[in-house]
């Protein structure tokens, strides 16, 4: 039986893909059986798809749930009374959001995994942390949005956590300068959502005559590039822009989602996203879901060994990307690396029932 503790203290990027696959085959078998026994909807789907959990399978062969199913269904693999946190994806009003149910154990695994992954990039010591967001975001603690959960999760890795934006999302220069004064000559962690950093931090600084000296800052940001692409900003220009306004040159993007909180994919110094010991990525062709070759674009399937209280260990996302390499990143971290192109494009369906469409 696979135990999370087996991997909890391994260095998160220390396993070569071949060794990792052996571990993941075992772990995925056990996780799949775990959810089959506990989640009726999951069982109906997996059986309907014709998957036989009793025979042995490679990592590629395990079933995956479409990410949208977490929006239409409340999927739990434990008793509701065990749930300590319900996380929701960030969606605009009216959109359906994913609901992810966490029990104490799964929540603890997420915290642990996130700390292990981040410390590989930040070192073991807690750093003074500047959150490029507003503390107002965390006022409602009963429901955790993806943004709030990300901030809370990363806040555990920092100290003297200071929010850079006020309730109106304006940059609070005084608070930031005080913070910088308190931590002269120290490494500083800057954390935020990509678009928030761009819109409310970078743009304000770019327009302002004031300059913030954060040469010793390490920036970690995530949450998607959709709005940034409209402004033709990519990872490289984002880095350059940040360096120009505050001097921070170490910038790491991460790829993650509320459906698999904790086991995030961090971008290394070489600009590649890395799977850790807690996670893996398979890219699939949309015509038949067969695995794509390295370098070939397809739909991203994410695997995480953390989810116990909900059947989210294997999810087919609506993002596209491609595998960029295996065990070969110049940064030295082992395992698969990949890149994300973005959300799959919307397309109109033909048909005859929408004349008086809603606005």
């Amino acid at each position: 039986m696979f135990q999370f503790e087996e991997i909890a203290s391994l260095p998160p990027f220390s396993l070569a893909q071949r060794d990792k696959e052996a571990l993941f085959e075992r772990a995925m078998t056990d996780l799949t059986l775990h959810h089959l026994e506990r989640c009726m909807d999951y069982k109906k789907i997996v059986q309907g798809l014709g998957f036989d959990p009793k025979s042995s399978h490679g990592v590629l062969d395990f079933p995956f749930l479409p990410v949208r199913l977490f929006k239409s269904h409340e999927l739990l693999s434990t008793d509701r009374s065990e749930i300590v946190k319900t996380m929701t994806s960030s969606g605009t009003t009216g959109q359906r959001v994913s609901k992810i149910f966490l029990d104490r154990e799964t929540s603890a695994r997420q915290t642990k995994a996130l700390a292990r992954i981040a410390s590989d990039f930040l070192g073991g010591r807690r750093m003074p942390m500047l959150v490029i967001d507003s503390s107002d975001l965390l006022k409602n603690r009963s429901m955790f949005s993806a943004r709030g959960a990300g901030i809370l999760g990363f806040s555990m890795l920092g100290r003297d956590v200071t929010y850079a934006l006020d309730g109106e999302m304006k940059l609070n220069f005084d608070a930031v300068e005080d913070f910088l004064d308190r931590h002269r000559d120290e490494n500083i962690l800057l954390f935020g959502f990509t678009f928030m950093i761009w819109e409310h931090f970078y743009k304000t600084l770019a327009k302002s005559a004031r300059r913030l000296p954060i040469e010793n800052g390490i920036v970690i940001h995530g949450g998607g590039w959709k709005k940034m692409r409209d402004e033709a900003v990519d990872s490289a220009s984002f880095r350059e822009a940040l360096r120009s306004v505050c001097g921070a040159s170490r910038v790491h993007n991460y790829y993650g989602m509320v459906e698999q909180t904790g086991s995030i994919f961090m971008e290394c110094e070489e600009g590649r996203l890395h799977c850790s010991i807690f996670s893996d990525v398979i890219v699939r062709n949309h015509m038949d879901f067969s695995p794509c070759r390295t370098g070939e674009d397809g739909l991203i399937q994410v695997i995480s060994l953390l989810p116990g209280s909900y059947p989210g260990h294997s999810i087919l996302t609506e993002d596209t990307g491609c595998i960029t390499g295996i065990d070969d990143c110049p940064c030295g971290r082992l395992g698969r690396t990949f890149t994300v192109r973005g959300r799959i494009a919307q397309a109109e369906a033909r048909g005859c029932s929408d004349t008086y469409e809603k606005r």
Partner: protein, 391 residues
């Protein structure tokens, strides 16, 4: 009516020509001339098939079938609200309005289909010809985003309203009144299915099965399986010697035909999500067969509530029946088109009449599900849009 968001692609204001007899010479000639103009647009198969419908020989045939035993006139002004997702449907609606002798105002799709510009361009150029001067002022083609005020404006002035686009649209439009004497034809959401004799499939040559499969492709994939007349359910008639060989042969052939289908990644995700969603419901799915992501097949053990199970992008439900009569208890007024292969027409006609079914308005061979005609959804449209002068 002048509004910033109301665009006239043809005409201006409310058309106000006097009604004519159905199939008037001018209307027939106009359609024949339009057919000639549009047949050149090979790049749009739907425009070509519309042009083919409008050609003189076809209209003359329809006119002869219509007969002249009674005196009829158009009702006056027909107001058409047409679907956004089928680019050419608005043009057929206009043709029905013209052939029945009405002036017409047609709300075209808000989506900017090139087909709309092509057809409206042809209409404009024809209206400039002297031989069609009496039609000038009798046609308005309008484009506007959903706006009850504009819809009300035309509704208050019409003698017939033609509403395409499903239950929600029909419900929304019904809230906007039409004059007491006016009539309405509404095309609500419908459910369609297909009946195939498995033995008949086994008897086909390879070339013949490929033609059936191509026909099935045109009924379904060509419109993302999202038209009312696209089948969601396939009923396999097996008789005593039931074996699934026939259906496997059929699906392999459909898979070949569907190779050309451009399944967008988002639609692959829609489809997979739909499959998983269906599996979580207790529908009595006996087995699932997948041909890559092109074809998903869910075999049903019972037909209870089957009309609520709508496939899209190539998701089909299958059911085995010894006799077509087994379907009868499940047919409601929502059922529209039955496409068939290997079954006698007489058997089908008896199935509907002997069982006193409230649904099924059309029975056509596989391949003709989308062939729209002057009889649709159980309406004889030309007669409905005209009035009888009793003498």
């Amino acid at each position: 009516m002048k509004k910033d968001n109301l665009f006239y692609l043809v005409g201006e204001g409310v058309p106000n020509r006097r009604p004519t007899r159905p199939y008037s010479d001018t209307a027939c000639s106009f359609l024949a001339a339009m057919s000639e103009l549009l047949l050149t647009h090979r790049e749009f198969p739907d425009v070509v098939s519309f042009a083919f419908f409008c050609r003189r020989a076809n209209i003359t045939r329809l006119k002869a079938e219509f007969g002249s035993s009674e005196v009829r006139l158009g009702r006056g002004l027909a107001f058409h609200i047409t679907p956004s997702n089928i680019p050419i449907n608005f043009a057929f609606s206009l043709v029905y309005g013209m052939l029945s002798g009405n002036s017409n105002v047609v709300r075209v799709p808000t989506k900017l289909w090139p087909q709309v510009d092509i057809v409206c361009g042809a209409i404009n150029s024809l209206l400039e010809r002297p031989e069609f001067s009496e039609l000038d002022g009798g046609i308005a083609m309008v484009r506007y985003e959903r706006d009850d005020e504009v819809t009300r404006h035309f509704s208050e002035r019409c003698d017939a309203r033609v509403v395409w686009g499903g239950d929600e649209t029909v419900r929304a439009i019904r809230c906007i009144p039409i004059p007491p004497r006016a009539i309405e034809i509404s095309f609500a959401d419908r459910y369609s299915f297909c009946v195939i004799d498995e033995d008949a499939i086994m008897k086909l040559s390879d070339a013949a099965i490929a033609r059936v499969a191509d026909g099935f492709y045109n009924d379904t994939y060509l419109v993302d399986q999202n038209a009312c007349s696209s089948p969601s359910l396939i009923v396999w008639l097996g008789g005593a010697r039931r074996s699934p060989e026939g259906r496997e042969r059929f699906w392999r052939s459909v898979e070949q035909s569907a190779r050309k289908y451009d399944l967008a990644p988002i639609h692959a995700m829609d489809k997979y999500s739909m499959l998983c969603d269906f599996l979580t419901q207790d529908l009595g799915v006996e087995s699932v067969a997948r041909h890559g992501n092109l074809i998903y097949r869910l075999k049903l053990a019972s037909l209870n509530d089957v009309e609520n199970l709508r496939g899209k992008f190539g998701v089909f439900f299958e059911y085995e029946a010894d006799d077509i009569g087994e379907i009868a208890p499940h047919v409601t007024s929502k059922w529209q088109t039955l496409t068939y292969f290997g079954v006698e027409k007489d058997t089908l006609a008896r199935f509907v009449t002997d069982n006193s079914l409230t649904g099924i308005d059309r029975m056509v061979p596989i391949g003709s599900a989308l062939d729209i005609g002057v009889v649709w959804d159980g309406y004889d449209i030309i007669r409905t849009l005209s009035r009888v002068v009793w003498i």
